[in-house]
Symmetry: C2
Subunit: 229 residues, 2 copies
């Protein structure tokens, strides 16, 4: 049975908890990144590659969201990065409360960047703010060129779109041009990064952009802290 | 805002409507098949190939579920098969009520088989009965071998598992043996059909099995009708 407490606006309650998370991230100087995608698009692979390339520069931590299993958190822990697995049971997305509760398992003040890997689902995660600084999505090019039109919300909400598995494009019959045009139709501004986690192609551009977002946010915060001191 | 009427058990209400659908399908002699998968696994492609092969034998109809767009219903209509598109807006699965309402747009008494293509989502569709006779799932082998363990419910509920895009296996680094073992771990009984909708490989076995399910159900119904006459 799905029980909803009487009189609760679940989206409003989620926004309030997301605001509290945002405040905690700001206070502790940690930049939080929500990674969303359909199942199997390669969120964890993109995250592994990203961690390899950011680890020399930043102190990283990862929250993993899955229905069951700790496979993803185990993969991250194997890289020597603190990770915490949220298992949602049957819930098809992370919400702000789950992230809030998981913060008790981290010393976030010792981190520069916190990645939050959402449950694999191309629909609902985009509706739930977590208090993140940056929302990115990973999309598997093999899944077809028309999906941005059929599942527009996540493509619209993403502040960067990583198009993964481009090494399979020659075999899949999917047009990267058509896919890119369809992403643009629902999101005119977000940078689009075609990459392959298998071959490494395109990862440099993604990492350069991501570092810039992190560094600019940290500089802004430093500036705010100096100004109010 | 998400409003839930006070005191409603949404899963119980769904089951009751699903029972009404089941009764309508039985009364009209139509065999209903719910097709579920993650986005981009190839539900519509499997459906197109299946329609081609079943159309000479059965009178077919299709209900398509998507958040927005009528792309899939248009693809089916182009094959000369009656189709109706349910657009769910932001709802990430079909429920029995949506299917019930869509039946007003069909003369189901003139059909032998009704396919219901669910919204692309590896989680929630498996929780909502539609009143179908058969639940099948399509999984893209490119999405990785470990997904049956990470998203067990749909694999568990499916009465047949179609493993699509096997033509991409040599390039994707995914082991079909490992994937099959993982499906078996959460579902010991459902037949597993590795197929490629692009090359046609494996479709014969899938179609033979599906025809058998349809024919056996129709024979059972005929028997029940004769016995009660």
């Amino acid at each position: 049975m799905h029980l909803i407490p009487v009189g609760t606006d679940i989206m409003q309650a989620n926004r309030e908890t997301a605001d509290a998370n945002r405040e905690a991230f700001l206070r502790n100087g940690v930049y939080a990144i929500n990674i969303m995608s359909a199942p199997g698009a390669g969120k964890t692979s993109v995250l592994e590659r990203t961690i390899e390339l950011l680890k020399p520069t930043y102190r990283l931590g990862v929250i993993e969201g899955d229905l069951v299993t700790t496979f993803d958190a185990d993969r991250i822990a194997a890289m020597g990065v603190p990770s915490y697995q949220i298992t949602t049971g049957t819930v098809c997305h992370l919400d702000a409360r789950m992230v809030h509760n998981s913060l008790h398992h981290f010393d976030i003040s010792s981190l520069d960047v916190l990645f939050i890997e959402n449950v694999g689902n191309l629909v609902c995660p985009a509706e739930f703010e977590l208090g993140e600084d940056l929302k990115i999505m990973v999309y598997s090019t093999v899944e077809g060129a028309e999906k941005p039109k059929k599942y527009p919300l996540m493509f619209h909400e993403a502040e960067a779109v990583v198009l993964n598995k481009i090494d399979l494009l020659p075999y899949s019959g999917v047009s990267l041009d058509e896919l890119t045009r369809n992403v643009r139709e629902v999101n005119p501004y977000a940078p689009i990064f075609p990459v392959s986690c298998r071959t490494g192609e395109g990862l440099g551009g993604w990492i350069d952009w991501l570092k810039r977002q992190i560094d600019e946010a940290r500089a802004d915060r430093q500036h705010t802290i100096s100004a109010t001191a």
